[in-house]
Symmetry: C2
């Protein structure tokens, strides 16, 4: 067989290409696992893994006894809005999108966690944390207010200079810490004093609030962050399978 060399990693990419180009289009199904095993000369495990990736992205859906159906396409909604999807935290987003943006330090101090802060952040009472406020100025608007708390024992020696850049880059590259998991809550709330101070809310009186708890690969929570953002600029995507 004059088969092009296909690593197992590429199976997913090739299948995705075919779906997007309409080679497998709506009302059709993907070839059966059996057929794909033959075509790519791979094991069932590898084929199923590739299909699962497509499924996680919402491109296809597997039905037992039936096959893998291609879903109708929904329009990409990346128009002029920022899109925060799966892998992006706000810090990552800053480096991957080429928006005109500036980070302003609005507060920087080291404090000890008291009862109230512990309840909010779920850090233990008494530990030292860096409390940092930063304003993200995007396209000439103060669009996001980040309020970070970093466990100073796990993330030591943060400086305003580091905060002005990427703290995550500092954590990963300089400290060599591995970020494992991020638990997020998305709410939206009445704007508070601090929001009116730092954000260009205009007549709006509510903010989005993305609360993040970040854990390293030892299972320790090293960060609590609230990101307050102004209306009409952000979209969060999610895919639910049944």
């Amino acid at each position: 067989m004059t088969e092009t060399i296909v690593t197992n990693k590429d199976i997913y990419q090739e299948l995705k290409r075919r779906v997007l180009k309409g080679k497998y289009n709506i009302k059709m199904r993907l070839p059966t696992e059996e057929e794909l095993i033959d075509e790519f000369n791979a094991s069932r495990y590898s084929i199923r893994k590739a299909i699962k990736q497509l499924s996680d992205e919402g491109l296809v859906y597997s039905v037992k006894g039936k096959g893998v159906v291609v879903l109708e396409q929904t329009p990409q909604t990346n128009e002029l809005n920022l899109s925060l999807d799966q892998v992006d935290s706000l810090q990552v987003l800053n480096s991957t999108h080429d928006f005109d943006r500036i980070t302003l330090i609005a507060g920087f101090q080291q404090i000890i966690v008291d009862e109230a802060l512990s309840h909010k952040t779920s850090f233990a009472v008494g530990i030292p944390v860096y409390a940092i406020k930063r304003v993200r100025r995007i396209n000439n608007k103060n669009a996001v207010l980040d309020i970070n708390y970093f466990n100073a024992q796990l993330v030591p020696d943060i400086t305003p200079e580091i905060a002005k850049g990427s703290i995550y880059s500092y954590i990963k590259k300089t400290l060599g810490m591995k970020i494992a998991i991020l638990k997020r809550q998305l709410r939206f709330e009445r704007a508070g004093q601090i929001d009116y101070e730092h954000l260009n809310l205009g007549i709006d009186n509510c903010v989005g609030n993305m609360v993040s708890f970040a854990f390293n690969d030892d299972g320790r929570q090293f960060e609590y962050t609230e990101s307050h953002f102004i209306p009409d600029n952000f979209i969060f995507n999610q895919i639910l399978k049944f």
Copy 2:
């Protein structure tokens, strides 16, 4: 061995119980896959599947070469807020939570998709859809405004009576249609005329907007829905793994 009978399904449940009860606590790791294979008398596949479930819930995190670490617990935030997580659509939520709630029909008609509606809903121009507006009154407040569009070819014969109850129940039980996947966008926006008309916004001038595209197991989009909700009452949870 006087081993209690453990089906493969229960491995996950048992491991979860141990993590939550602190039998495997922070700073410890889970037993190795090898050990769990022996204990549960199951294959590696089954053990790994169970651990993956725990990992997807944010309870543990697997590190290559190291083991499976237990994550510090974060507080449950189900206080007085509704929590819309993975499996819940608004309709499901209504039946699973015992809030004092009423559904009011604010609009019900069958229309033909025009250019503008097509752009918004991604339904094809010219097809008939049911356009339904419903107000969810929760704890004596008009908290959610649902604006549904159902493809009338795929979801025929909806009546106001059905809309007053659960359309999803009608789709699943009466029509026998399988709901496959739901793509969601979460935004928050300046409140519009329609929101002031139907929601108890008070002085708030913004709404959360959860946009949903639902697909059946033939890959066809049968629904487009916008759920507008008032501030300070809803939380969305998400877990991101790196």
